[in-house]
């Protein structure tokens, strides 16, 4: 079972690295969205620091959603997905490997690029570290919850817009606690432990349920 997990993970990463531009598209989408906000709302340093947590998280939400469509689409088109459904190993393991690869390719780069947000929004280094930590905890949830939506809308016309309608409301807890912790860390007396614990709990919950829900959604879509 671990064998198949590693195989799929390696395969997906290798495939993505052959077409590196796709990885960078998501990354630059994130950077562009983040850098457009100051142009829209003005360059007041205080205000930028205030809105930075929310802006960074919303950009992350949109960026990870942009990439969701590709999670299963290519495998669906060339028939690989149907072969995976027929594989003797449980589908949820295969799906979990695909989610992990997806996170490594779209979530992790966002975590690594977070210091850029810090520079653009005049954040202090402590705040940037909190932001990276929260993104590290939160982006896997985005990939896993989003995978359910990607599986449900597989092969539909206008799938991309549809996913956002289905999945964005479900992202709310991540947004609230992810951005909340960053805002909290800017206060003198701020305590971000509850945020971290709650987000970790949500992460564990989605680790358990999401591969299974995504697998059953895939079975429905490919029936």
């Amino acid at each position: 079972m671990f064998n198949i997990f590693w195989m799929i993970l390696k395969r997906d990463i290798k495939l993505a690295l052959r077409r590196r531009s796709e990885v960078f598209t998501v990354l630059f989408f994130f950077i562009i969205v983040v850098s457009l906000f100051p142009l829209g709302v003005g360059f007041n340093e205080k205000m930028l620091q205030e809105i930075a947590p929310g802006v960074a998280w919303i950009a992350a939400l949109l960026a990870s959603m942009l990439a969701l469509e590709r999670l299963f689409a290519n495998d669906y088109v060339d028939g690989t997905l149907e072969q995976m459904l027929l594989a003797p190993q449980p589908l949820s393991i295969l799906v979990f490997a695909k989610m992990t690869a997806h996170w490594l390719l779209t979530g992790l780069p966002l975590v690594l690029v977070a210091p850029v947000v810090g520079v653009l929004y005049h954040l202090e280094s402590d705040t940037v570290i909190t932001m990276m930590l929260m993104l590290l905890l939160g982006t896997p949830i985005l990939s896993m919850v989003g995978a359910i939506g990607a599986a449900l809308t597989l092969g539909l016309r206008g799938g991309g817009v549809l996913i956002s309608l289905l999945i964005l409301p479900l992202y709310i807890p991540v947004l609230v606690y992810g951005a909340g912790a960053i805002a909290e860390s800017r206060l003198q007396s701020g305590n971000i432990e509850p945020h971290i614990l709650l987000l970790s709990a949500f992460l564990l919950l989605s680790l358990i349920f999401s591969p299974w829900a995504t697998a059953s959604a895939l079975k429905i879509s490919l029936e």
Binding site: L152, L165, L170, I172, Y177, G180, N191
Partner: protein, 242 residues
Amino acid sequence: MSFSWFKYAAPINFYPFAGKVIPLFWFLAITLTGFGLYWGFFQTPDVLSDQKQYYRIIFVHVAASWMSMWLYAMMVFWGLIGLVFNTRLSFMMAKATSTTGALMAFIALVSGAVWGKVSWGTWWDWDPRLTMSLILLFLYIGYIALHSAIDNSRRADKASAVLSLVGLAIVPVIYYSVNCPNPNECGALHQESSFKGVESNILLGMLVTALGFWMYSFATILMRVRNIILEREINTKWVSEL
């Protein structure tokens, strides 16, 4: 005497049965809502603590908010039954429920906005409850959008049932995060509500109206199910004989 639990799970049996009970539900809906609103408008005090005449919108607002939540649960229930027993009719019920549920969520939001404008002086406030009803409306809209985006009705039914289940699983987490955006000082944010503080004749009006809204929902859901049955079974013999 043998009783078959699944007799009315067949559209052919359910269609005439629903046709027979719809007038009954309409009658109950009109009487109960009429009585509840009459009671609420004429048999309750003019002024309610800090609220003036305009508090009477509560009789519509509370009933609609309750229905919007109950109908979501009902939609998930029918979807789940459909997934487990693979009965076509359950999915049709879930689909029919979603439209009425979205309508109720919309009525709750609009009546709340009107009430808020006169009472608080603003159409909208980011109060946990308001936010939650807005999110509930989004969930309904997502369900309806997914269902209508899929042409194959079998896949549409199952996919949207899974979506509503996932929604139900995450709703408690959303509810908590909206109620308590800052976990360090969560207790202060909670808005208390209980039956105890409500005068008994106001409560009577609210409950009877809510019951009337239930009956209205049943009536419209059954009417919609009958339409869906006709649409999907159009090629069968019994439909062409109607």
